[in-house]
Point group: C2
DNA sequence: CATTTTTCCGATAACGTTATCATAGACAGA
DNA sequence: TCTGTCTATGATAACGTTATCGGAAAAATG
């Protein structure tokens, strides 16, 4: 059929109008006579014309693309966020460009260059530590952006969406305390991550409020991966006085905890209770189903996108930093500690 | 600092050369004197110049973006494919635009319009049924594309990547037969999906080869979701002569099977064996870990991307249709059937 | 030294759209 | 009828690049 991509000029010629008039029709401008509009629209339809976004972008200065940058694609955690972003974006004309940093310094600059070159309308960043110099660079290029769940320190003027980590840490601990647990271990993320610190602080607050001592042996650092859960659980079980409950830093970690406990012949929740963090889909699929602190990840993605859309539109933000509430989701993985006569 | 985005013209003026020369430096053309090149490069660096991809795209006719279209973002299945695509793309200068169809006819046209308007360099499509008219439209617009795991009938001239579903269905069935099972149920996807048909055909082939009768009651259709696994398992258990093994159509479905069996007080694999399909990460996290037919999803994504890159480069494809091998991954969810005296 | 080739660089014209401004005609009010 | 608004349209110039061509030095060749 039509080999080449048809242009606005062809349509204009065929419809017997000028080029700007076609443009006006395409953009639904009011100043076109109804008869003309109809004629042009018919020609457009017949020719199977599709307008070039590129040319549009060049002239208009906005590309219709927003960038979503995540550290990795290896955890359901990120996918939930991606889903939230997509949900909002699919109702707009914007496309989502997805890229990863892998936290390598080699690639650090690369994504930034890609983002800036790409004439993004804006960016949503799910970053690991630091990288605040990168943010400066984005700002210098006047690229609107929102940071999701930044794990480091963030300036007060940086638009960001997070979750109430402190409250989550406290809620999980309080719940375990209410079941009667007195030796509760917490496996966190890297100690230099803000969210880890917050959760540990919440954990300490709950213990202190209950008048219980804090045993540094029961606070274990690590990564948010399965392996960490496994390893640290083994270490905890080797303690002279092992914990009766383990609060993991992520649901993935909790899966590692499950595996380690099974390997030691311990049953959840009869012998030991487990609480996760995140509430990703797996939590409902394992047995026993995992009691966890829900982070509204998809909603964080949605919220960040909504904020970004406002920034792009030039509207002011109600608040620079938004923290969505975490909540305790009780399932089957917790029970009162085994009777002390054991 | 510099408020506006700097252009090639500014660089040219500052370096005392013409605009095309700057362009030549940017594109590493050989016909630039070393001294000039160095001078221009220095100015570029000092000015913090980044070239406009949009203008480049308009002039060159290629946008540097490839589209990845998936039906949904609600299954680890798609994420594995996305990961594979990303792995290849991150080594190139191309960006990935991710969008979903949700299999709604309302959105069907929309993604297509987005893809075509967006001046994509190419597209990778993970589609549900049908939609071959859409493919025609892409072809008409000369947009290179590759289809991943198309679930319907595909013309022989359509570049596509799939998995050996028939072999997978057969391998799973043979494995269960080798353990001594004689009543094996299969839960598949929609009967009109090609992959479902293939797997069922593989299942039948294995049974026939073993000289066993095929009981239509044991072949259950459904979706690839967890709920289907649960529902169909309940139905199977209600049979006068229930199966001793269940071959699920996806790992997610298998999770539903697990849940239903637990609800009926049956143990895996002691009372009943389960095999999944896909081998997504969950398979290793549940207990017992899931024996499954591995589909190399990430590799399918990688392969599709590699093929697309060739198409974009104008190189010929070795083969239009590539099927990657499925393989049986033996874990803990299968055992010989319980002794018949039960 | 004259001639050819090579190397480097600049003028200019695209790419396909939209914004700006100007203008022709229609219509109302005096 | 004249003047002044309003409406619909067209000419033209951008947006920031790259491709094409031509030409001036510089280098190679006779």
């Amino acid at each position: 059929m039509n080999r080449r991509r048809s242009t606005i000029a062809e349509i204009a010629a065929r419809a017997g109008v000028s080029i700007p008039t076609v443009s006006r029709v395409l953009n639904n401008r009011p100043d076109v006579a109804p008869a003309t509009r109809e004629r042009v629209e018919r020609v457009i339809r017949e020719a199977g014309y599709v307008r070039s976004r590129v040319a549009n972008a060049l002239r208009r200065g906005s590309s219709g693309i927003i960038d979503l940058v995540v550290p990795d694609l290896d955890s359901p955690y990120y996918f939930e966020i991606i889903r939230g972003v997509e949900e909002v974006l699919e109702r707009t004309e914007l496309r989502m460009a997805l890229s990863t940093t892998h936290d390598e310094s080699r690639r650090e600059r690369q994504w930034l260059r890609q983002v800036i070159e790409g004439a993004t309308d804006g960016a949503i960043l799910v970053l690991a530590q630091g990288q605040s110099e990168r943010l400066d660079e984005l700002r210098r290029h006047r690229i609107p952006f929102v940071v999701v769940d930044h794990r480091g320190e963030l300036g007060p003027d940086v638009p960001s969406v997070g979750a109430t980590n402190w409250a989550g840490g406290r809620a999980a601990t309080e719940y375990l305390l209410s079941l009667g647990h007195r030796r509760i271990a917490i496996i966190a993320g890297w100690p230099n991550l803000r969210c880890s610190q917050d959760r540990i602080a919440g954990y300490r607050a709950a213990l202190e409020e209950a008048g219980l001592p804090i045993d540094p042996e029961l606070i274990r650092p690590g990564e948010f991966r399965q392996q960490t859960g496994y390893d640290q659980t083994c270490a905890l079980l080797a303690l002279p006085q092992p914990p009766t409950a383990i609060f993991a830093g992520s649901d993935l970690q909790a899966m590692g905890v499950y595996a380690a406990l099974r390997a030691h012949g311990l049953r959840v929740p009869d012998d030991i209770s487990v609480v996760g963090f995140d509430d990703v889909p797996i939590a409902t699929m394992v047995s026993p189903t995992l009691t966890t602190i829900r982070q509204p990840l998809a909603e964080m993605g949605r919220m960040a996108t909504t904020m970004l859309l406002r920034l792009i539109a030039g509207e002011p933000l109600d608040s620079m930093r938004i923290e969505l509430a975490t909540s305790l989701v009780v399932r089957e993985s917790c029970a009162p500690p085994p009777s002390p006569d054991r």
